[in-house]
Amino acid sequence: MKFLTTNFLKCSVQACDTSNDNFPLSYDGSKCQLEQDESIEFNPEFLVNILDRVEWSAILQVAADLGNTSLPPNKPIFEDKNSLNEDDMAILRDLHILLIQTSIVEGEMKCKNCGHTYYIKNSIPNLLLPPHLA
């Protein structure tokens, strides 16, 4: 599961929808095995559009869960999408490596509201609930 996907996943328990703690899920860094996958090519425009959309505070939380505390506290902003300078490109390249190339191949994540644990196996997150919670 690619890092960026963590910005879209919430707890499947319906009752948690009314809490603010069902997103992002909390990742157990000691149990998450990371891999770099370079099959998707770097595309600055794609990255800028992704950044427009993501919730940066959740990116920071998940990165910290996984042991990366070196991200800027505020979401990088690009004034003109069509004329990106070298510094912009360097930032976008780093974010490409983090958001798209970094994937969690095995791991665990937990809802901060109900505490339910979900697993990632063979890069596939399993968000199904056991019958008593569904």
């Binding site: 690619k2 960026l4 996943l9 559009n49 596939i124 569904a134």
Partner: protein, 221 residues
């Protein structure tokens, strides 16, 4: 006409592409320009529910629908379908697209109002009951049944999605949903048309079945 992805799966474990799958491909092809204009210059989050073999998501990736700024989520309860979807994507050289396969019961695992394009070929065959989700990955007959049967009027699962559509779709989001005549889609249109703009994109007679694909979007203010 856009080429159909090459699919080779174990159809004892996942739903084999059939007329309904192809009608959805045709609907998306017909709306290709509409979608590329609607989602121009922005990130698009595409989400297919119940991808089965993965033919539809692969078709969208192959043809960069809606744009080349898209990420694709394929959500299925059937673990075999998730593996098949990845296989089909690779078989059709889509490894450079952003595809995530997620084991999930409908969209319960995805944040509200984040999906820009929802595609759903639901289990629509009327049946008295729908089996429970198996605990065992090897209970393949049940996984396959879940891909087909839709309870009363074949609408039980589709109705769950329609009831939540407002919290599933992004502000600008659209949903493509397949129906058979026994689902009585014209009744659904009647019930939902005050709140939603609903278009019949394609319909076709397939054997003794009449299939249709409707597009749902919010009414513009």
């Amino acid at each position: 006409m856009l080429p159909t992805p090459y699919v080779k799966c174990d159809y004892e474990k996942v739903y084999e592409p059939a007329e309904d799958s192809f009608l959805l491909l045709d609907s998306l092809e017909k709306d290709q320009l509409y979608l590329s204009e609607r989602f121009n210059n922005t990130l698009s989050v595409v989400c297919e529910l119940g991808p089965g073999s993965g033919i539809i998501t692969t078709f969208m990736m192959q043809n960069t629908m809606p744009t080349n700024n898209s990420i694709y989520f394929a959500l299925d309860i059937n673990p075999w379908a998730l593996e098949a979807t990845t296989d089909t994507a690779i078989r059709n050289s889509c490894e450079k697209s952003y595809l995530e396969t997620i084991q999930s019961n409908l969209t319960s695992s995805i944040r509200n109002n984040e999906i820009d394009i929802l595609v759903f070929n639901p289990p629509y065959v009327p049946a008295e009951t729908i089996p429970d989700i198996p605990m065992d990955k090897n209970d393949i007959d049940t996984w396959l049944d879940l891909a087909l049967v839709g309870g009363e009027d074949g609408m039980k699962i589709t109705q769950l999605v329609l009831d939540q559509l407002d919290s599933i779709l992004s502000i600008n989001g659209v949903a493509y949903i397949l129906f058979c005549a026994r689902n009585k889609p014209e009744n659904i249109v009647k019930l939902m048309k005050n709140q939603w703009s609903i278009e019949l994109v394609e319909h076709r007679k397939a054997g003794w079945e009449v299939l249709s694909v409707y597009r749902f979007s919010r009414k513009s203010l």
